[in-house]
Each structure stands twice: as C-alpha cells, then as structure tokens.
Amino acid sequence: MNAPPKAITGPSTFLDDRLGAGNFLKRNLRKVFPDHWSFLLGEIALYSFVILLLTGTFLTFWFKPSMGEVNYLGNYAPLYDVRMSEAYASSLHISFDIRGGLLVRQMHHWAALLFVAGMTAHALRIFFTGAYRKPRELNWLIGVGLLTLALLEGLTGYSLPDDLLSGAGLRITQGVAQSIPIVGTYISFFLFGGEYPGHDVIPRFYTIHILLIPGILLALISAHMILMWVQKHTQMPGKARTEKNVVGAPFYPAFMAKSGAFFLFTFGVIALLGTFAQINPIWLFGPYNPANISAGSQPDWYMGFLEGALRLMPAWEINFLGHTVTFSVLIPALVPMGIIMTGLALYPFLEQWVTGDRREHHVCDRPRNNPHRTSIGISAITFYGILWLLGANDEISSVFHIDLYTTTWVGRFAVFIGPAIAYWITYRICIGLQRKDAEVLSHGVESGVIKRMPNGQYIEVHTPPAEDIAEHIRGKKEIPMLVGSADGDGIPPKGARSAIGRLRTKMSEAYGTDHVPLTDGHHNGHHEEEHAAVGAGERKELH
C-alpha cells in the first residue's frame, strides 16, 4: 500500500487540523511493549471490567432496585404467587423471561469473579517482580485502591438480587457495621434508612453499584493506564534489555492486535462460563427473609478471607462504662483487610527505607533474586489463603468428614504458624533456585551426551546454556544495602546510631545480602566441550 485510502486520510486530516493529533500519533503509534505471559494478567482484569460494564448495562434495563413487596406472577413455577421484593422478582424476570437474560446475568457474575481474580494475580505479579518500585509507586497505590473498591463493588453487587443468600451477606455486613465503636449504630441506621433490613438498602446499594463505584473505577483505571503508558512498561531481564531501554513489539499493529485478541479470549471464556458453569442460581434460594438461612452459605470468593476471619475469631467482647466493644467482630472484619491492604500500599516505601534505594527500576526482578520480598509475599498469600480456606470450613468439614470445631482450631493456629513456615520454605527455595542459576552459568547444562575419556571413564558433557536464558539469569541485580557501623572507620553514619537506625541497618543487611553471587562463566574464555566435565565434582561417572 503506497497511500492510505481516502476514507482514512479525509477524517484524519480533519481531526489533525483541529486537534494536532498527528504529534501524539507520531510519538505513540510505534510505542514498544515488552512481552511476557505474566504481563497479560492485568489485561484480564481490564477486559473483565469492560465486560462488566456491557453486561451490567443490559441488566439495568430490567432490574428494579426496589424492596417493595409483590407477589411473583412470572414464569418460574416453584415460586409462583410467593411474596417477595421487586428486586428479587425482577431478577427472576431477567433469568426466566428475557432471552439471553440468564446468560448475561451469569456472565456478569463470572466477569466480576474474574475481575477481582485478575486484579489479584496482576498485583501479585507486580509485587513479586518488584515492578512497584520507583517510578511506579503511584500506580501501585492506584492499584491497591482499585482492588479495595472492587471488593466493595462486588459486595454491593451480590446484595442486589435480594435472594436468601444475598440477604445473609447483607445481614453480616450490617452486623459488622453495627459493631463499630461509637458510630456503629449510626452507620447502620443511616445505611439501611433505619432498622435492618428496612426498605432503602437495595436502591442505595444500586446507586453505589452502578454509578458511584464504577465511576471511580473508570477514572482510576484510566489513570492507571495513562501512567503505565507514560512511564512505559517494565520488562523482564534478558538480552540487550537495560534500565535505559524497552525491547518488544510496537503498539501498532502487533500489540494492538494481540490485545484485541486477548479481549476476545477473555470475553469468550466468560461467555463459556456463563453458559456452562451455573453461578448464583437465585431461583433455588428463595426470597430473603431475616428469619431464615440455608446451611453452607458462602460469599463470593474475594470475600472468603473476611468470612474465614469471622469464623476463626474466638469470642471476645468487653463492656465498660455501659459501652460494648465486640472484638470478636471488629478484629476479623478490620485487621486482616487492614494488614493486607495497608501492607500492600506501604511496601514500596518500606522497601525503599530498608534498602535506601532511590533509583528508577524498569527491569523486573525474578522473584528468586529478592528472596526476602518473595518470602514476605508468599507468607501474606498463606495468611490470606488460610483465612480464605477456613471461610468454607463447614464445607471442608462435611466433605472430608472432619470435626467442625477441629477445622476452626486448626485454623486458629495455622493462621499464625502457616505464614512463618511459608516464609522459611520460600526463602530456602529462592536460595536453591539462585544456586541452580549460578551453576547453570558457571558449569553449563547437561547436554545428554555421554563421552568416554581416553582412560575408559564415561562422563556427561556439559554445554554452555542458551544465550537468551543465560542473559535472563545474568539480569540479576544487587539489592542495595545501607552502610552500617561495621564499615569505614568504625563510626556509624548519623542515621544509623539510634535504635531505629540500627534496626534499619540490620534489616537492610538481611534484605540485601546476596548469598549466591553469580560467578559468570564468561571470563573462562571459550567453552570447550569438556569444560563443565573437568573436575571431580562435576564428573558423572557411569558404572
């Protein structure tokens, strides 16, 4: 093609005359995006959000956010003439009377689950590769905000259909709100328009769910994307990849097409799930009534860790001066969420404080190369995971025939011991993997070729590793350390003299010490076939 067709030149000239868009496109059309499978995790969340907006809009056309009571006269026979809220009746209407309604409702629910799952996986990728480091701390904070908002969005969403299960979730939410010291009863009365359940909460949650939170999400997601665009994407270590460049495929046409395809895959998988994997069959639960509940009630997966925390907590409540503080609700409702979200938000700054590292980072760490960070992350996952698992302890108990209270007791200890064990194991695995890397560089890899030596001995020939992999391994960076008292003239620097300063230096030393420095095989000159086989240690003798 020598000249763009008129259908394109016409409008683009029109736009450029008025907006000067050419300058923007000149800089950005061939913007380079690095490639790695883990960079797609965030895209899953992004596309799920788009699908949520599309399917959610469809649902609003029929959903009636009202707690007014009606007798159900629709097509679903088992509930015919049953008294229920208009919200529940219209949810049944969407499911049974609107063609594609059930599909879209199920896709909306699946997309919501995938949205939070995608965000979580993406956040973990960012964490374990250190991609939150300068200059990306702000985007990391936006991400933590997005994750928190997504949980709220999910909570307000699954409360809307007003079936028995959604009502149970709402009741727990209300009980938690009511337990907050000083303002709890006021929060509950203002949220529910009086006593629970009242007639206001579903219309209010509806506004929050379809307008307020999605609006903020949209704004924050846009900011997230713009910052990513401006700061350019991080890249994995590898051949010719440095802190000063970015290597990969251009936005136009390759990245654009790949992303488009990935959107279609996400959409397609959500459609598959919405078709074949039943989710939230509200017609089986019946209308909400605060006097009823079904056993085995579970929230959506992303609320499971809070549910587990509520279940694990021992009874603990204090009364003083005519007031009540109920720690058996407050601690599980606030502390795990607080630890995880605050911990995530502060981590980049704590790490900077410990390492004293103020440089920009654009090449990702491989998780093994920062063993303490990786161990902290895995222990947080273990903490979260145990709470999450115990959010279904009744199911565990009934499926595996374990005594119910035993599961609770195991959980109460595991939630403290588990993360510590996970820390230790992860640390050892990281060091082990680093040693393996060092060995690959210094001794090469097994070629599968057995060679007979002149003296009749058999050895396995080692060859140097493939260049791309060797470069990937050599991308390991030193973690900076603060200068402690041991260095220099024995006089510690000013900041390191106080108790906190000494602690900081110690932590810095532990965090930054490289136990397995890479000894590059390069300086040995040209690799001979036998290179790695020389020396008794590497000799693999066959008898």
Binding site: Q106, G175, I182, A261, L264, N292, V329
Partner: protein, 358 residues
C-alpha cells in the same frame, strides 16, 4: 553408541529443557537467530508459513461468522419461560457467542503470530524527572503567579476564602443526615413488648403457617419450631429482631442457665438472631441440645440458657419470657429483658444489669 555420542547430532535432542540450547541450534554455535535484511528489529515471516496461516485465519473468521449468525438464529428460535426452555436458550445463545468470540480471538492471534513480522524493537527510556532548568522555570513561574495573584500579600483575602469554604465543605455531610432516623433505643426493643389490641399479650405463631401454638400440643421433647410474633408475620423489620426458636425439653434436662420462670411445661423460647452478627441461628442438634448458627458456627447450649459453647458469639441467645393465655396458647409475657442480635456500642452489659435487678 560411542560413535553417536562423540558426534552429537542436533536432531537427537528431544524437547528443550530449561537452560539448554534451542533444539534446532547446533550445540556450539554463536547467535543462531538469522536476521534478514530490512528494518532493524522487524523480522519478516517465512512466506510459505504465511500462506498456510492465512488459510487458517480465514477458516477461523468463517467460523466466527457462522457462530454469530447462529447466535441471532438462536435468539429467534429458542423461546424462554420454563426452566427447560430457558436452559436450552442459554446453551444455544452462550455456546454460539463463546464460539464466535473464541474463534475470532484465535484468528487474530494466528494472524499476529504467524503473518505479522516478529519484532525486537528497542526504544530508549529517559528518567521520569524533568531536568533542572525546567524545574527552575516552574518554580519561578509559580512564585511569580502567587505574587501577582496577591494570595500571599493579602492576608484578609486568604483567611476569608478559607472561612467561606468551611460551611460549604460541610454542607454535603449535613445533607446526609436524613439518610436514616437516629438509633435511639430501638435496638433494645422488639415487637414482643407491644401488647395486642385490648391489652392481651402477643401470641407466638409458627413461621410460614401463622398458626398459634397450644402448649399442650407442642409436647414431644426434642422438638423445635421457628416462631414469629402474631400480627408481624410478614414484617421483615420486626422479624429481623423478634424471630424465635421454640424448644421442648423434659423438665430434668433444663439446666440453671435457663430461667425456668420463663418456660411453660419445658417449652423454652430463645431469640433466633445470632448474637455474633445477626444470622438466624437455625441449626439444632437434638441429642446435644446445641443450637448452631450456620454463618460462623457460634454454638449455643439450648438446655443451659443458650450460653455460648463454641465460636465467635460472645453472648447467649436472649430468652423470651413465655406464658399461656386463657385459651392455652403460648404468648410472650413481656419483651426480651436484654437487646437481641449483634452487639453495638451503646448496648453495655445488659445481662449484668438484669442480674442486679433480680
């Protein structure tokens, strides 16, 4: 054997193990990637493979077309209404939609990977921080603007502006006040405390049927009923606090925690609303007299004043004083003596207050 080992052929290497050279690379060679002429970092595909891929992509796009058309057809053909019809429509619509989307996605992916060139483009990065000159200029401009505006010089302007903003900032918060009534003491009472018209005490009725309960008829020990207040069978706000579980014991089974003055012939009524976060404590184990809340597994001993024996609930389920009216039906003698349901700040140790009064 030996001969082959001494002259390894690259074809012998089965699949690539991490760390080993690519299968098609000779074991010792330098950079095997052959970059054809053209733009640096843009590596064209093999034309033969491109032609093959083109047919593949076209085939996938054709599937998308057919599946998309089938989706529209399914919308027209499959009607909804009954469970079976809705299920059939759901499979037809969802299946065709998923197929259309997935094969379109697959087509575009094959296009990108096998028809578009391979890219290895390099772009430079620059420090995010702007240079010192720019920073200096911005600083100067900021100071100049602050000066020109008079914000710094005119103290009165500054202070009255802040003063003006304060009530306006509070206004939206004030507007939220009518979101709900103030709690007052409403959490301390239930409808059991309100007598019926004519001053008669309120009867207990079975949830669902609305039947009043004659003490003599509820006579099998170990029995349990879910009970609501007469006249409020459909009032969800009332039910959220006033729902009861009614249990029948043999007299010798009842322990000291239960107030026997509030029982009728071994029939005891407890609030069904869990004292943890308010789920209905709906599960009952007859042999152990345990009431279990399915939400967070708080467990109460029904024979012993519903005291907590496991789980996160900190207080027993409140007991309702029961009596019988002249026709022999169970009624509430009074409201609960302590607030029901989850704890709240203003609650205080209501149980201790009751004990002191007694």
């Amino acid at each position: 054997m030996t001969e082959q080992n001494e002259y390894p052929e690259s074809g012998r290497v089965p699949t690539r193990v991490i760390g080993t050279p690519p299968a098609d690379a000779p074991i010792e060679e330098h950079d095997p990637i052959h970059v054809p002429a053209g733009v640096e970092g843009v590596i064209p595909q093999d034309p033969v493979k491109v032609r093959k891929a083109e047919r593949m992509v076209a085939f996938l796009f054709l599937i998308t077309f057919l599946a998309g058309a089938a989706f529209i057809a399914a919308y027209v053909i499959f009607q909804v209404g009954t469970i079976d019809k809705t299920a059939a429509s759901n499979y037809a619509l969802g299946g065709t939609l998923a197929l259309a989307l997935l094969s379109l996605g697959a087509g575009v992916t094959v296009w990108v990977r096998q028809i578009m060139p391979k890219y290895n483009l390099v772009q430079e990065r620059h420090l995010m921080a702007s240079d010192a000159d720019t920073r200096g200029y911005v600083k100067e401009t900021f100071l100049q603007g602050a000066d020109e505006s008079g914000f710094v010089k005119h103290r009165l302007l500054r202070r009255t502006l802040l003063l003006a903003a304060a009530p306006l900032g509070l206004a939206p918060l004030v507007l939220l006040k009518d979101l709900g009534p103030l709690p007052g003491t409403s959490l301390r009472h239930t409808v059991w405390g309100e007598p019926m018209k004519g001053g008669k005490p309120r009867r207990l009725v079975v949830e669902g049927t609305g039947q009043p309960i004659r003490a003599a008829d509820f006579n099998s020990p170990g029995g349990i009923l879910s009970v609501v207040p007469e006249g409020y069978e459909e009032d969800l706000n009332a039910l959220a606090k006033a729902t009861l579980i009614l249990l029948k014991f043999r007299p010798e089974e009842i322990k000291s925690g239960t107030n026997k003055n509030w029982t009728v012939d071994g029939i005891v009524a407890y609030s069904k609303i869990c004292t943890h976060v308010g789920c209905p404590a709906a599960l009952y184990e007859q042999t152990t007299h345990h009431i279990l809340c399915p939400c967070h597994q708080s467990t109460f001993d029904a024979a012993d004043g519903a005291k907590v024996i496991f789980g996160p609930a900190a207080r027993p389920l409140p007991q309702l004083p029961l009596g019988i009216d002249e026709e022999g039906y169970l009624v509430a003698k009074s409201d609960f003596k302590v607030p029901v349901g989850p704890s709240f700040w203003e609650r205080g140790d209501a149980e201790a207050e009751v004990r002191e009064k007694a």
